[in-house]
């Protein structure tokens, strides 16, 4: 069993990353809530987009990382890639669920309904089901090697599904309802959004690093339990 370890230099570094992520996220929220002017069309509720859009961006980024790590694992069979994939998937579920919740919070005042078959939101919901499937496979497979191999397959097959789902839902929706309202592109809006996307991305990398270290420790415990 290979002995994946985390170099000491990396451990101190994560506190700095955590701090930077925290500061950026706080400032992002402050700017989004108070400083940037409300949008002419949607009014105050448009501020939700400053968290909804970054969360969605992270949900898909996290699953892209799962996909890349899954491919790497199947090629090199190095347990570290599997542990990064698992960590990214768990964080991905957090962001996906958050995106859906924020989406309905935004939908209620804008369209008067908690759930709409808007292509982006529907695709995010399907992405959540893929994540749940991925994590279910991991929890139901006892042998670590098998768990890594099968979840890698689910990560790859699942990832290929996302664009097709988005395409098919967009076509399907265009048969029944005009596309959802376009977002305003005022410079203030764009900068605030970019700041929050950066903040969320930093949070993602911090959480990935921390979750990976837990995965390493738990894998070590599992290996030791098997030694007995």
């Amino acid at each position: 069993m290979s002995e994946p370890s985390v170099s000491p230099r990396l451990r101190g570094w994560h506190r700095i990353l955590g701090l930077v992520a925290l500061v950026t996220t706080v400032s992002g929220s402050v700017v989004a809530l108070f400083l940037v002017p409300p949008d002419a069309l949607q009014g105050q509720v448009e501020r939700l987009l400053y968290v909804h859009v970054p969360a969605a961006w992270l949900a898909f980024l996290a699953f892209f990382v799962v996909f890349v790590m899954s491919v790497l694992y199947l090629i090199q069979r190095d347990p570290r890639w599997d542990m990064v994939a698992a960590s990214s998937a768990e964080i991905g579920v957090l962001f996906t669920a958050l995106t859906l919740a924020l989406g309905s919070l935004w939908g209620k005042p804008t369209w008067g309904v908690w759930w709409t078959w808007d292509p982006r939101i529907t695709t995010t919901a399907i992405l959540l089901v893929i994540y749940v499937g991925y994590l279910a496979v991991r929890s139901f497979a006892e042998d670590p090697e098998r768990r890594a191999r099968w979840s890698a397959v689910v990560g790859i097959v699942g990832f290929a599904d996302v664009p097709i789902v988005y395409l098919s839902v967009t076509w399907w929706r265009s048969l029944h309802q005009p596309p959802s309202s376009p977002m305003s592109m005022a410079p203030a809006f764009v900068w605030t959004l970019m700041l929050n996307v950066l903040a969320f991305t930093l949070v993602y990398w911090y959480l990935l690093l921390r979750r990976y270290r837990v995965a390493v420790a738990e894998r070590e415990l599992e290996d030791r339990a098997a030694e007995g």
């Binding site: 985390v6 809530l33 957090l94 919740a101 921390r210």
Partner: protein, 48 residues
């Protein structure tokens, strides 16, 4: 506006909860690693 507050509160609570749960898991794992002998990351522990 209440929806906006709810949205931001939810975002912060979700992230805080995830970090808290993560730190707890990290502590548990580190403790169990110590108890089952010197580990990769854990400081050298006295043998049980």
């Amino acid at each position: 506006m209440s929806y906006v507050w709810a949205g931001y509160a939810l975002t912060w609570i979700a992230m805080a909860w995830f970090v808290w749960r993560l730190e707890r898991r990290a502590r548990d794992a580190a403790r169990r690693l110590q108890r089952t002998g010197p580990g990769v990351d854990a400081p050298a522990a006295s043998p049980r």
